[in-house]
Symmetry: C2
């Protein structure tokens, strides 16, 4: 029996969430709705110019793992923080949620700090992310514990983590270990600009061995360089066992083995969109491991995504199982 | 013309807010509804045993100053943080709210860290606070800038800050400067156990020169060592120009110059009681400086308190002036 339902690998970071008007996004030179990588001087400058903020642990794959753990799934996470206050906050929040987190800390005298994401939330609930990677960029093959991967049913790879020098080697090692021990490999495309940066490498990884692909509509269009959503869905579905593609308020499309399902979005007032996709993937994987029908996996994903966008921050707050029960999914 | 409406002096700290069942409070050996001082080993142990948390800048007087600044008042704050990540978060959030904050940082090689308060929020919205003071305990007379005090209409002293070796001298210096330049002196009793620890010193300070006294019912009973609320109110009102005493869902009593008013509480669902008293004092002082009738000062205080308990964290989120207008107070 596997020790872990899912082992996630990604960028470990703390979110710095602040409300911001659309006009101020322009003043701050922040592009709306996407993730931009920034260096430390820009992080310091931007932080000095935003309003009061809240710090809540984040990181895309870590958010996904937190959702699975909150649902009672057995999880582990791999991602690098430093031995500093933000690093301790990140580690605490993940372990307190029930995940195993054993990645060695970057030492306190490391040049970089724990990564952080300055998230500006506009009145429409959309989030614009500005990421200082810090030490999380230095995750390498040595941080991948093959025994842990061997003990997993599914590994979950965060596309964002490709923005680092040793990340390709780390992912390759994880995939190899997963394949050797019969674990499924899942990947999220993370962000359209992330796809731009790594399209060829992602494509190779997908063709070589991704079993479950998560993306949203814009990412999938970018991945397959088409404007036609149906073309992108069809092409992707031929390359992976399971495709789960979210389409914001239109819900999610699940394609597998020539079949197709649509999961409607769970209506909710958008407070903060941060983490919606992460939550979808978390609930989907939790359900997939438990062998729920793929349509139910997708519907649970949509419910978890709605819970996430109903509050500030990208970690779950409500009892997700109760929400599933209330909708007849459990 | 004074440069500052209010200069606040208090414990500078970041709140670590986590949800907790009542049963778990006992397991964690935390007393409900009060503030307990803890040392670093206890802070580390307690933190390791609580659930996922959010970090939001706090500190009682700093919360009060943040409310006044959010209302457009001119403010400065005095309180010590370290040159570490939590210290930078605290400083950012206060300055981003519009307050002047110039207290020298404790150096990065100081033995203690920036203070923090582990706040456990039970399902009833009550908060149980566990405070590691860290470097904020070392605030001393040298940190009091007499020119800044001289430029203030009111100084606001946080009772909690008496838990430190040089605090009495710092407060005495601030009071002396205030009196020399015609600034009013306000004090909050902070917490019933804080009153227990410092009753004589508080009493001396009140009799010697506190103009505006903030407290809640339990603190006032402790201060005057009586079980009779009316006796405590009467006695306190004879010792200060203005007494503003909150009484949770029963609102607040304002006594001054032989007159008395009652401000009803603004009904709200309690999400997190953290900062309710701080917000009351902030709105009250903002209104007092603008010479609103004392009853209106009290009513604005109650509205601000309700806003604060309607969300997690002790810093204002809604537009308080709009709330005042909606209730015909502006």
């Amino acid at each position: 029996m596997s020790k872990f339902d899912v082992v996630g690998i990604g960028n470990a970071m703390v979110d710095i969430l602040s409300r911001c008007d659309d006009a101020n996004l322009g003043t701050l030179d922040v592009d709306k709705g996407i993730m931009q990588l920034i260096d430390m001087p820009r992080a310091v400058d931007l932080y000095a110019r935003i309003g009061p903020a809240k710090e809540i642990s984040g990181g895309s794959a870590a958010n996904t793992i937190a959702v699975i753990a909150a649902l009672g799934g057995k999880t582990a996470y791999v991602g690098k923080v430093k031995d500093d206050q933000l690093g301790h906050i990140f580690a605490h929040d993940l372990r307190a949620q029930g995940a195993v987190y054993e990645t060695p800390l970057a030492p306190s005298d490391a040049a970089d700090e724990t990564g952080r994401c300055i998230v500006l939330v506009t009145p429409d609930g959309e989030r614009s992310m500005n990421t200082y990677l810090g030490v999380t960029e230095h995750l390498g093959p040595d941080d991948i514990n093959e025994a842990q991967i061997a003990d997993a049913k599914i590994i979950y790879l965060e596309g964002y983590r490709f923005d680092g020098p040793e990340s390709h080697a780390a992912f390759a090692k994880a995939i190899k270990a997963a394949k050797a021990h019969g674990a499924m490999v899942s990947l999220t495309l993370s962000d359209p600009f992330c796809v731009e940066r790594h399209r060829d490498a992602f494509r190779q990884m997908i063709v070589d061995g991704v079993d479950v692909l998560f993306s949203n509509r814009v990412e999938l269009l970018s991945m397959y360089e088409t404007e036609d959503f149906e073309v992108a869905l069809t092409q992707a579905s031929h390359e992976v066992k399971i495709l789960a593609c979210t389409h914001s308020e239109h819900g999610a499309h699940i394609l597998s083995g020539g079949e197709r399902w649509h999961a409607p979005a769970d209506p909710v007032e958008i407070v903060d969109a941060t983490g919606a996709g992460d939550a979808f993937a978390g609930a989907f994987l939790w359900a997939l491991v438990r062998e729920y029908p793929l349509e139910v996996c997708g519907r649970m994903g949509c419910v978890a995504a709605s819970e996430m966008i109903s509050h500030i921050g990208a970690r779950p707050e409500a009892n997700l199982k109760e929400l599933f029960k209330a909708r007849g999914l459990l």
